[in-house]
Structure formats: C-alpha cells, structure tokens
Amino acid sequence: MSSLREALGQTLRDLGAENPRIVVVNADLRNSVKSNYFVDAYPERTIDVGIAEQNMMGVAAGLASAGFIPFALTFARFASKRAADQISMCVDYSFNNVKIIGAYAGIFTGRQGVSQQTLEDTATMRAMPNMTVIDTADVVEIKHVLRFAASYEGPVYVRIGRDEWPVVFGDDYRFELGKGQWLRRGGDVAILNSGLMLSHALDAADTLAAEGIEASVVNMPTVKPIDAALIAEIAANVGAIVTVENHSILGGFGGAVAEVVVETHPVPMERVGVLDEYSESAPNADLAERHKLTAPFIADAARRVVKRKPRVIRPVGIRHA
C-alpha cells in the first residue's frame, strides 16, 4: 500500500526541481492534495488563489499563455463542475498548456461523502475537444503520468485518488499516451480497467482462471484519446468485454469503450462502475462493496458476458435441416 496523494505531491516537487517553468496554482487545498511539498520547495513558483476554482483556471491559463507550465490542483468535483466553463473557455478552447489535477476523483475520498466525491468528471472532461484525460491506478502510474503531463504541450486532465492504495506496477512500468497495457492475456473475456480498481480486476481474472475462464486484463489509463485500435482488436479477438472504473457508468471510461465497440465490432459488454446514483460517507472498502466494484462483482460481470457470447456462428445463407 502506498499513499496516492503523497505520490502526487512528491512527484510534483520532483518535477519542479527539473523544470523551472512548472508552477503550481492552488485553491487552498495544499494539505489535501499534497502540493505543500512543492509550496515548501518553490514558494516563488506557487500561486494560491484561495477557495476560488474559477479564478484558478483563468490564472493558470494566463500563466500558460506566457510560457509557464501550470499545474492547477483541486478536487476533481470542483475542477470539473465548478470551474467547467473556465476550463472550457480559457484552457481547452484557447488551447493553453494547463495541467488540471482532479484529486479525490471518484468515490474514495476518506469517508467525506458526496460533496467531496466525483462521479462525472471523466464524462465532462472528455467531451471537451482539446482535452487529454488520464486516470491513474497506483502510485507508480501517478508518477509516470504526471511526468508525461509536464512534457506534453496541451491541456491535460489527470484523475488521482487520495488514500493508501495497493501498488500494482513495478519499475518496468511505461506510460504511453493513448495506449492500453496488457497485464494478462486470456481468450474468453477481456477486463479493461482505467483507474483505481485495477488490483480488483486482476484478482477477478485469478478467480475466473480457477473456473476455467481465461480473462485478459488490459489497463487503459488514457481515457482520451482512447485506444480505439486496441479495443476493436480485443472485441474482434476475445469477443466479450467488461470495463472497470471508479466513476459513474454513464459517460466515463466504460462509455468511451462502448462507443468504440458498437462502432467497430459489437460484442457482449458490461460496465462495472458506480451506477446512476450518489454515493455516501463510508470507509473505502465498504464503498467498494456497496457499489459492487470489487473482484467478485467484476468476475460476475465477466461470467455474464461470457454466457452472452454467441456459441455457434452460422455462415450466412446456410440452413440446417
């Protein structure tokens, strides 16, 4: 286990050491999102606008337009909802090189309840034409994605969690924009994951293997641009898909995958995510159970899509007596 927000804060400080053009724009939450490491190391490159996310996005865009690389950090809810129009106008439409960090993305926010959770940020952000949208699964992925964001020229939105979380990846991890990562290969069903439920996706594949169902597991941090070629290939070759995400099933990663599947190679598919409802205050493990995001539920979804796979493919025009 390793703290997601600590990884965020420490990586940001490391990036600040490497690139003097990186600045941090805070909206009060330095201790929550752990930008305090950067603040302490580079106070002259820190701007705190107070609890004013709309102003934060405009200020960040102005800094970017003059050559700086601003990281604007707040909770995913406040970025994607309260400041959505400022992001649209000043960052996305104007194409300014702002890195928006949506911390506390999803439902795992330390028992704080609905007002600090976000179920729709991916849906909102990926509908913005110039935005790159990336979710993160563990501390290793966070480090690589933030490093990528700093080097990329253009608006980026990164979802990051809060708490102690299982570490899945090792030193061999590589992030490539818009590319899915094969973690396991199996021909019966493919589990596509974006974000924090990755260890559950892998556990589900183990469970399924014990039953004789071979599952692929593919991690897809980039929700936009989605790896459409890979999804089409998986649909064609595996023929059954389950998506897993820490987000509403409406409009998020599952939605993005479904769009590709129906337009390329329609196959049985289910989305594991938060249903169309609000969450609540509770420990993370309890929330994962309540919203049916854990390995057993992912395995159930996989069994269902496998059952829905056509057993016999009859060549067109041939009738059996």
Binding site: A66, G67, D85, Q86, C90, Y93
Partner: protein
C-alpha cells in the same frame, strides 16, 4: 501608435495633437464597426461603440504591440473580457495592422478567423477566447503573474463590461489581484449603464461601485470614457501606481457616436440596415470629414 515601426517603439505622446489624432482614429474605428455590421447583418453594435475610445487609447498610444509578430513575448497583453464587443476589437486590430481591413467583412461567417466572440486560436492579437462573461480578469492575472515570474516588463489590460461584473468570478479575481500586488495589471470597466436586456439599475445593485473595488484593494479611477485625454491621464496614473492594481471605471454611453443607438438597450445587439445604416455612416462620415482628411478606409 506605440508599436514597432522600423524596429522602434514610439514614445507615449501627450497633448492636443495626439488626442486629436486618436479621436480621428476612433471615428475610423467607428466607421469600420458600422460598415462591418451593416454588411454582415448581425453582431453587437452598442457594446462595441461604447469601448472605441478605450481601445484606441490602448492600441494606438498606451500599449506596446507587435502587429506583424502578434505573439512577441514582450507585447503588452489586452484581454477583452466583454467578448461581445468583438467587432470593436477587430476594427482596432485591423487598423493597427494585425490583419487586413477586408477581413472584417468575413466577421461571423463560416470559416472566418473573426468569430462572433474573440477566439485566441484564430485571430492574431487575441490572447484568450472570451464571451462567456466574468473570466478575462483571471486570465489577465495569470499573464501579469507570468510577467513578474519571468522578469518581463509587459503590462496587462483587461476590459470588462459593467453588467459583466455581476459575475462572481470577477470578484474572485479582484481579491487575488490586490493580494498579489499586481501593479502591472489594469482593469477597465465599460460603465455604460445598460446590459443585455435592461438598464443596470433593474438588477441587484453593484453600488457603491468604485468603493467595492477600493474595498477589494484596488486603486480606483473614475473617468469620462469617451474623453481620450482623460483616459490617457488615467492610464498614466495606473502606470505610476505601485503595489496595487488599478481599475478605471470608464463612464460611457452605449452605442456612442450613432445618435439613434445611444443609450438604447435595444441596440445591444441587432441588425444595422437600410435607413439606419445610412444614417449611422453619414453621422460618422461627417465627423471624419471634420478632421480634414475625409475617407473612412
């Protein structure tokens, strides 16, 4: 004009002759606004005409701009937060040489670089896309902070509508700008007293207006907004005010310079055509003629 001419930046001239030159420029801009709107048959005449003197004072005297290299890093930044005044800005930018005058007549047409509201990616000289009100001042804070961080001397100007300052985002920005002591930032409020559909006094009151900005930590100047000499004085005072940003409340008349549009809410947007178009052009042409050179283009 205070921009590069054969590699030299002109000094900020003062005095009657300069004011008269700028007043002449203002009428040329007014003519181009009406000419454009007349051809296109759409747009915002009232809120474009009220800001003409402000734009002219900025672009042809106060600011250092580089029409042939619009992204020059040393350029002063201008942000039209009240993006619906776009055609006024375009008329000024074309007169300053950012793009040819003929391009004005593509305004709001498919494929044009001149959108109904400013587009930073399309139009040379536009810093950020605006038109969704209340956001420009935040962006200007960002560029002002960038000047400070980068050790650059460029200044930052943001023009807001009076009604626009009903947006909460403006006051988030106002708070931050004074906290950061941004004396390289000037906000100008086009106080014409009318908003989209009604007069300002119908809405939740913003008075006492100047006192509000003052309470937010700004140096406040209140000037007649069509008086070029007064605008230049205010810009001088802003430049010599250290440690805090300056807001210039420019008292203007919506639709200024076209008699039947002045102070008429109905001319916030609308089609200038027929007899109205001829009248508007004749009024402006008469004033242009009084400068002794005639000719609008």
């Amino acid at each position: 004009m205070r921009y590069e001419e054969l590699g030299k930046i002109r000094p900020r001239l003062r005095g009657e002759e300069e004011v008269r030159r700028l007043a002449h420029m203002a009428e040329r801009v007014r003519y181009d606004i009406i000419d454009t709107l007349g051809v296109i048959g759409s747009g915002h005449p009232g809120p474009s005409l009220s800001i003409v003197e402000t734009l002219v004072a900025l672009y042809f005297n106060e600011m250092t701009v580089f029409p042939t290299t619009p992204k020059h890093p040393e350029r002063d930044r201008f942000i039209l937060s009240k993006g619906h005044g776009a055609v006024g800005l375009y008329a000024v930018l074309s007169l300053a040489g950012f793009f040819p005058r003929d391009e004005l007549f593509t305004f709001e047409c498919l494929g044009s670089r001149l959108q109904g509201h400013p587009d930073a990616r399309l139009t040379p000289g536009v810093e950020v896309s605006t038109g969704s009100l209340g956001q420009g001042l935040s962006f200007a804070i960002g560029t002002a902070m960038a000047a400070r961080l980068g050790g650059k001397g460029f200044r930052n100007y943001c023009l807001l509508g009076d009604g626009e300052t009903q947006e909460g985002n403006v006051w988030e920005a106002a708070m931050a700008a004074s906290k950061f002591r941004l004396d390289n930032l000037v906000a100008i409020v086009d106080w014409n007293g009318l908003q989209g559909g009604v007069t300002l006094d119908v809405m939740p009151s913003m008075e006492p207006y100047g006192a509000k900005w003052e309470a937010f930590g700004w140096h406040v100047l209140d000037v007649p907004g069509h008086d070029i000499a007064a605008l230049l004085d205010a810009l001088d005072e802003a430049r010599s005010t250290a440690g805090k940003p300056t807001v210039i409340v420019a008292r203007t008349i919506k639709g200024y310079g076209v008699s039947y549009m002045e102070n008429q809410v109905g001319w916030h947007s609308g089609t200038v055509e027929g007899e109205n178009l001829l009248t508007a052009k004749r009024e402006i042409q008469n004033r242009l003629d009084s400068f002794g050179q005639g000719g609008a283009a």
